[in-house]
Symmetry: C2
Subunit: 181 residues, 2 copies
Amino acid sequence: MDVKTLCLGVLSRGEASGYEIKKAFAEGPFSHFHQASFGSIYPALNALAAEGLVEVREQAQDKRPDKKIYSITPKGRNALVAALMTEPAPDAMRSDFLFILSFAQYLPPARVDQLIDQRIAWYREALARMEACACNETIPAGPAFVRGMGIAVYRAAADYLEANREKLLAEIGESALMVAE
Amino acid sequence: MDVKTLCLGVLSRGEASGYEIKKAFAEGPFSHFHQASFGSIYPALNALAAEGLVEVREQAQDKRPDKKIYSITPKGRNALVAALMTEPAPDAMRSDFLFILSFAQYLPPARVDQLIDQRIAWYREALARMEACACNETIPAGPAFVRGMGIAVYRAAADYLEANREKLLAEIGESALMVAE
DNA sequence: GCCCACCTATATAGGGTTGATATATGCAGG
DNA sequence: CCTGCATATATCAACCCTATATAGGTGGGC
């Protein structure tokens, strides 16, 4: 699933500029399971335009660089569906948080406490945002399903952290004492 | 959290060759939240050796290339702890599965059904493996905590998929009928 | 028995991605 | 008034991943 396909996916939901596509990956509904940066989005859009999978429309703007608005073509929609039918690559997660916590024994308990605090706050905030945006508008079945899964997983993570933090802190507190003795 | 730090983390748990470090990221306890490939591990180990953070010991082997066994130095341990004290980058997840499911409306229901089947099977298998490796040996508090969190999250994901798949399939089945009419 | 596929083991080239930076301007808050 | 942030596109170096090269051992199917 390369950046070209991801851009097609965003554009299938409506026309957008490169900047807006970047925002979709930074804040939008895709942000929880895929990211892309300017350095990959702009070349991808150029390649997609060259292949006829997207169309460009330049919009002049006052005192700002011209906005290049991209829209998906019928050929582009076919390419997107073809990509969606290929075997998905295995999920990959990168979490510095979990990596650091694997070495909790070597860290000051205050540091571990603070990390877990921050993470719980982050999950709760993300959950509030995800749960809020559903009431007013009817969203299609696919996005609704994915959103529900995100909520279920984040809630499980936050609940686990809250339920088990004291036990972890007690255990690394003990071993810190043992080292001191 | 670059590959050099990840290698130090693996080596802090015992000496290993580049090949074994790669296996730790492919199958070991880190595999669920960080990955690294040969193309990044070997240069990272060379750089770490040049900086005096790891030591190399060459072990001749019958009918195979010499094994270079790396071990972390006291200086390396300090560097690891220093890295663990820096602010962790935000978690990032890449899931082609969720990306594809966001476009479930455009896909044949049979395809969606198959994807969810495969994913549930994958989660259940991962859970079985993760739950199995705890009974016999006593693992430190940090890894135990991280392992528990992984189990909680995977279980929530699998449960969600099982509980909501019928609803999704019913909804995209309906819209498929509407398109046909 | 034989062949194919996979495992051990290191290394590199090529291509894709990230993160930082450059450019230019408006707007809000201290 | 000035700093920081948002809009908007674009590029570059550093980093990382995928695929490949090399080379022999091991296990399963036919």
